[in-house]
Amino acid sequence: MRINAVQLSWFRGAAEPVALDLNGKSMAVYGSNGSGKSSFVDAIEYVISNGKIEHLAHEHSGRRQEKAVRNTHTPEGGKIFLSIKFRDGTEHKVKIGADGHQTSAGPPTIAMPAWEYRRTILRQHEAAQFIQSTKGDKYSALLPLLGLQPLERAAENLRQLAKSIEDQSKLPEARTRIADAAMRRNSVFATDTKEEILAKVFDLHTKYCPDKAATTEARTRCEELKTSIAARVNASSADQRRHVALNDAALLDLKAHIDAVRTANGKLAGAVEPLIAEKLQVLESTGAYVDKLDDQAAVNCPACGRPIPVDAFEAHIQSEREKLQGVIHTFNTCKTTIATLCNTVRLLQTTLKKADLKSWQDELADGALAPNLAYLDKIDSEELRKACGEDELKAIEENLISLIDAAASSSKAAPPDAQELSTAKQTVDVVAEMIAAKAQEAAAKRAETLISFIGALEKSTRAEIKAQAKEVIDEISADIQAMWAILHPGEPIDNLQLYIPADADKAVDIKLRFHGVEQDSPRLTLSEGHRNSLGLCIFLAMSKREGQSDRPVFLDDVVVSFDREHRGMIAEILKEHFNTRQVIVLTHDRDWYADLRVQLPGNDWGFKTLLPYESPDLGIRWSHKTGTFDDARSLLKDRPDAAANDARKIMDVELAIVAEKLKLKFPFVRGEKNDRRMAHDFLERLLAEGRKCFQKKAGADYGFHADAMKAIDCANRLLSTWGNRASHSTDVVRPEATALIDACECALGFFTCSSCQKLIWFADAANQEAVQCGCGEIRWRYGKACK
């Protein structure tokens, strides 16, 4: 959406309301340093960035930048506001309180706060920022243009979903329980086959559940058996119950669990210790890695610090990730084995504290195992879960194994019926565990399949992101190359490209060819001026990509480091690539501004100049002229000699353009050769040729433009006298300088038609040997007919 006007009141350099009137057109604005040009750009940034202006973000500007955004001389009751009016008649208004608090309202269809700063405004110091930013930042800057946010979100959601499934399915714990059940099976049934085990269950079921002969499913049989056996135990004598309980304790395989924790701890230490040592190297190697990025033949891996060829980098990173995954798995296994040990300890506590074992405990309390019983009472399984090192394992081993042995020893003296009941109970418990483990194994397999499936979807999504990003990036690269070719025709720096590095996600970098040699970064070889030039091309190529939105583009003093040759070509880029967009160019470069006035088409572009800044009370002020003589006038009061000298410099520049456009008999070459010619040379030539060539309409025909020649002659005489004196001494008084400035401005003014306001070279005349203004009121005949 095109902007019609940007109005400021007591904002930054502005005092009473001042407007940059654009009327939907592009605009070149000239203003000397400090004249207030950037205040208009600040206003746009203020709205886009929700009340923040990046270059004002510092400790002195206040929490809401209130000390920086308001004019220092805002009078009491002075209203600070911004207004951006659009071509469709809508307006975005911002009121700013003295404390910096802002009230902002704008049309939702335009939604200025959603505009991307990095594709709307380019300031002088930002030109090379993109080049110097990290690969990740480059990618972030490009991401909105790529239109890939939905896919990025999908990929991230998939990654998180896989993690969530892993958490929900408790895979490591399930695997440990499955392994535990297998261990118990081997301990109780040794090499018995599945059928033999089920036959045992069948026999027990027949014996203990005679009334439920119809049950055939093993799981149900086990459940029925558990109930029946528990009922029999409860109905048995105290002595029998004591033996069953002792047998329960004796069957707890605490030693195996201690060994499992010890093994897992050992594995974890084995995995973690070298990993920690390796990771310590990362800090060192990361620095070395960054230093060596310029030489991509071999780099130090940021994960482990080892030198590695770039082509092997991706595989190496993958192996590092797998190594880390291995450690995570070992860590989880260790946690699970500790949890199992804690559960076993708690089960031992519960079992030995059963009322049925009260007499047995009393016997132990008077004997050598009294301390062991006290230890069992005191041990906190939750604390053990947090810290279970070798000291804790040894204590458990020394104190609790002997208790289990004692229980086993006592249970051996059990009467046969109690022994039989206990064995049946053990058989049923282990078979029930095996059945549960089988179900868990199936669930774990399903979870693993699901995680792998979602991982594959994430991988494909990331591949699609890369593929789509490449398409867009290639298109942007083509524009960068085209713009670079305009700025640097025939130069041996070419093939500039944005690209996605093969070894990274969410990264973009720039490469180029320098005198035929491929370079991985512009920072290797490009000068500051070239880097800024490339930065400008990248900014414009990215902004161009948003063509459909028709948002304006602001270029604020972006040619500071450009030399004249390259600076002059920017207008060509604007004409070729931005002819349908609104562009606002602000500059303090008078020569470039003069060039732009000539180069850019007057139908699409407007030209304005700001008066030099005098005081915050007066604020930003526009000159009523498009020329730059007001700069010279601002010096009249204190330094008339400088004012006259300034006028001469303006004439040097402006007349060089006039001479070139009117094909005066000089070898007119744009650039430095004309820089050595003075205004006086051009005026002499204009006077010599103008008497025949400069014509004004008189009725149906054309006649000699006497007024123009008189003005040119006057300017020439004053420049030869007072102008030269101003250049070589300070002996020029204010009236002389005033007359000189007025004469120069008047002389140049004759090259613009007073009727149609177009320059005399606006169009070729019909006979192709003359140029004329838009309406044909004035013309310059340079062809044979003039001789």
């Binding site: 979903l161 969530s164 929900q168 399903r446 699901l450 979602i454």
Partner: protein
Amino acid sequence: MSRAESWVTAVITDAKAVHPLVTGVVSTWMENLLTGELRERQLTKTELTEIAKQLLNDMVPAPPVQETKQ
């Protein structure tokens, strides 16, 4: 069919071919998620947990349908 939709269908088909144990319910649901909810916003942990639970449930193959005689 938009580019996004046709791409998702192809991706699901490829992944399903490599993971034949994934049920039809899960692959259909993932296809819907990939063209919709997963793209629209970053899901919260609670939402992801809920989806994870349901997906795990849906990974259990449906019991075979028994034919009934009229």
